[in-house]
Amino acid sequence: MTNAWTDIKNTDLVIVMGGNAAEAHPCGFKWVTEAKATRGAKLIVVDPRYTRTASVSDYYAPIRPGSDIAFLMGVIRWCIENDKVQWEYVRNFTNAALLVKDGFGWSDGLFSGYDEEKRDYDKADWDYQIGDDGYAKLDMTLQDPRCVWNLLKAHVDVYTPEFVENVCGTPKDRYLQICEMIGECSAPDRVMTSMYALGWTQHSKGAQNIRGMAMLQLILGNIGMRGGGMNALRGHSNIQGLTDLGLMSNLIPGYLNIPTEREPDWQTYMSTREFKPLRPGQTSYWQNYSKFMVSFMKAMWGDAATAENDWAYHYLPKLDVPTYDVLRMFELMKQGQVNLYFCQGFNPLMAFPNRAKLTEALSKLKLLVVMDPLETETAHFWENHGQYNDVDSASIQTEVLELPTTCFAEDEGALVNSGRWLQWHWPGGSPPGEAKNDTWIMANLFQKLRKLYQDEGGVFPEPILNLSWNYADPLDPKPEELAKEMNGRALRDIEDPANPGTTLVAAGKQVKNFTQLQDDGSTMCGCWIFSGCWNEDGNNMARRDNSDPGDAGMFLNWSYSWPVNRRILYNRASADMQGKPWDPDRKLIEWTGEKWEGYDVPDIGVTSKPGEVMPFIMNQEGTSRLFTRGMMRDGPFPTHMEPFESPIANVLNPKMRGNPVSRVFVDDAEQFATSEEFPFVATSYRLTEHFHYWTKHNKVNASLQPEFFVEISQELAAEKGITGGSRVRVWGKRGQVWAKAVVTKRIKPMQCDGKTVHVVGIPLHWGFMGAAKKGWGPNSLTPFVGDANVETPEFKAFLVNIEPAAEEPVA
């Protein structure tokens, strides 16, 4: 989230699209009901189904799964055409005025530079024109045909209301009503918030869906505002923490990058990370990259990381491919190239696509280790459960070890919520049986491995032998020790640059926050963005003071929010070019003439003058980006792309299938379905009664939603002779499932490109383990392909067929 859960109470308009907040985030949704009840805020829901969120909405419109970009580009077009633009914001706080190279263009649904064979773009021309002074050229009058604004206008021109209706299946009158409601929020004193979740991420163009709304929010001037923002509702209670800590194959904590093979040494690695400002006087905060990186290396390897050995850069793995994401790992596993797989708090057999492929892959492992509080399907993938897991156990040779872990309620530590708050929690109970917490297990494994390297050597033992491991009990690092390590400390006295000769931080003391980190090896810090969470003031994550000056919803003394306890990112943009709040009733910070101050921690140098230093300090431009240069693989603007399995061809380019630059493995490409074979669009989702595949183990949750079902419209039910509560078979190119049918008015057929499109809703939550009735997940049916930028699987739009089925035989 750019903002915080508590801030949603400040909004005028909530748009829930690409998510189902009431259903999947019922506790956070309280802030929507608060905004509605106390400020008369309105709620719009755009979703293929009339959801629980829609049930309390003020306005609802249906949309065909996978067509969100067309809708969003259409709204942008409508706003521009109807002058619903926050002009001063757009001109100054976005890159609208910057000029783009002449080589950049778009036609037939593709941007310039497409190479069909490589399934990639040459992005050299997707960038600014650079002047003789080394800065990007611009035209503040927005007249130059090559300025971002005019390119955007041209780009969205195709997305007329008729186009939107035709592609999205959203009735034109409903779409235009939503445009009107959104357009009102271009006024400086009206604000919309966007709440989205996996309904946008789980597409082969998920990142571009989100870009589309981010651009709209910038055009309306709603980023950095109280009650505004782009608010990603994270799908697990600590998934924000997972991303922050870089638990992805291409990241290190704090969104730093694992090097690639093209970066064999430190100098090469750093050469592309200098982040020189692209406009004069701009902050470009990533210029501090080396401080965060060196401090991380010192946290990892202590005295073994020195200036002379480039901070032990040679210890870091170098990626030979962009990522070893889960899809790639299972592909490699299927090819027999993986011997051992560790599943820590992860149930991929239910959580990743094409279950048949996953089972085949797991069967080729020599050893599978599952660390989990529950008996997961993954750990029992080899067990025959009749139709629910019909495997030949005797033919599977994989050895499986289950290491029981504690669950979150038995642990101490911090969870990072969607709003970036690190909230410390304490154990609510003792773990059952032999369960151990994850850090205990990892520490014991590490100590045994290190001993083996010590005793027997190895190809490259140094990174393991020299790993910094300074915990009171090396077999059981405590949450406090780990948190302090993430905060960082001085390794020797650090001089105060403002007062030479005096000490800023004494050796051994915790740094106040990341602004004190150094790139000369004098500080260590495990995760720079968390720095400040446990400094010399103590555990700031454990703070529980809910006072709220100005009723602003900031709660600065409750827990700790990264970065530097800031609650709303880009909050400098809540004030105009003179530093006065756009809306005095929504003040966050303001310029006093000397400095910035207010209810939130300013997201700008406190003495940076308004009009000189622009609000988007992480960007080299100082502005936000309507045009993202070459930073995304599938284009600097979002363009309409169909899902890989779609009922209609891409109207912009009928030959184009899915996202033209998504990675597709050969076997998977052969398993994409066509609408001739599989006429119905399926989409997957959660239900409030359950949490993922966990709560089916709990008898109370299981009683509230006991059995796997699918939802279809009355029209499709009539067409197929299906009655509510009867059993149906749903099958696709990769598998089949049986479920109870829920026949509902909440799903209606849509008209898209001359065809009637029926949607089959497939909730997740059931499997072959646990207390609930045995069932399947949607992943038995879904395609093995991910987003072009981040490889999130396409769970939200795929093709199936459906028919009535005989009742389940009594066992």
Binding site: E23, V56, D58, E689, K699, S703, Q705, V742
Partner: protein, 321 residues
């Protein structure tokens, strides 16, 4: 800290951290089933109420699970019969149930998904209590709560007939009647009902009837401003008003909310019984002294032999015996 609990004012407050004496005393009972001439209490407790704002409800069923957890019931893991309602009706193990109805508003042609939390309404004039022939099986406190005292229940089912909302359910296991207690045990120590505590959107709130009525009026205003011309409060007079009441977007059509009673009244037959059952009930069971009637009323923490056995089984299961 005083040694008795404060009057409950809200479900949002944190619970007291020290054990408190119950603030619901035998002497606060104003009506007792099949018992004439209940001595009138010397004090009048503030009337309480639970307000269910249907327009804020997201149907998440947190109330249902909180109810199960607090009352330690064990609903069966059933099946899906083509709807989101699970279980499919109130049961002796499910005192509250989200009921879902899909309604196409003929005035706007808009679909509305109406989700109503069903359960005991705690009538000011309780039909169950009037119908009950078992002395002391149903009581009403001066704060409005209508509670079942299971030790005195004979499982005859008259309360089901007497209830204008079809709420009580008879257990096939112990042949006692069950329904929502408005968490009388929580209210007695200054807390709100478990469902209200768990509700994430404040669709369920708890406090004094006056406060809740004021809140309900605010909500009705908000709904009217959003175009729900017939928004209103459902607090039916036919049963003297209720201590669980609703805010409805369409208060002119209660039945669209999964058959909420349009005009609930106690059946004239039950009213007719009243005199008869008094006599018949008394004759059958003998006239019980008020103290005996209330026996078991405040001893709900007593461990029954069946519970001992169940606990023993659990321990054995865990130890793998």
């Amino acid at each position: 800290m005083s040694d008795t609990a404060p009057q409950p004012t809200t479900a949002a407050a944190n619970p007291p951290v020290q054990p408190l004496e119950s603030n619901l005393l035998p002497s606060d009972v104003v009506r007792i089933s099949a018992t004439p001439d209940v001595p009138q209490p010397t004090r009048q407790l503030t009337k309480v109420a639970k307000l269910i704002d249907v327009s804020k409800c997201i149907g998440c069923k947190a109330c249902q699970s909180a109810c199960v957890e607090w009352n330690d019931t064990h609903p069966e893991i059933g099946e899906n019969i083509g709807s989101y309602e699970n279980p499919h009706d109130l049961t002796p193990d499910m005192f509250t149930l989200m009921r879902f109805s899909e309604w196409e508003n003929p005035a706007t042609n808009e679909l509305e998904w109406l989700i109503r939390k069903d359960g005991c309404m705690h009538c000011e004039d309780p039909g169950c209590l009037k119908a009950c022939p078992a002395p002391g099986a149903i009581v009403q406190y001066s704060n409005g709560i209508v509670d079942f005292i299971h030790d005195n229940c004979i499982g005859c089912g008259y309360c089901v007939t007497g209830c204008p909302f079809d709420i009580p359910r008879i257990s096939k296991v112990d042949h006692k009647s069950y329904k929502c207690t408005l968490c009388s045990d929580r209210v007695a120590v200054g807390q709100g009902p478990a469902c209200a505590k768990a509700c994430p959107t404040k669709a369920i709130t708890f406090g004094t009837k006056d406060d809740m009525t004021a809140l309900a009026n605010e909500r009705v205003e908000d709904l009217k401003s959003r175009g729900y011309e017939n928004a209103g409060i459902y607090d039916p007079e036919g049963v003297g008003g209720t201590h669980v009441f609703y805010v409805l977007h369409h208060a002119d059509k209660p039945s669209i909310y999964s058959n909420l009673a349009e005009n609930p009244r106690i059946s004239p037959i039950v009213e007719g019984w009243k005199g008869v059952t008094k006599t018949a009930g008394m004759a059958a069971m003998g006239v019980a002294a008020a103290g005996a009637v209330l026996m078991g009323l405040f001893t709900r923490n007593k461990v029954e032999p069946e519970e001992e056995e169940a606990a023993e089984r659990l321990v054995q299961d865990r130890e793998g015996i």
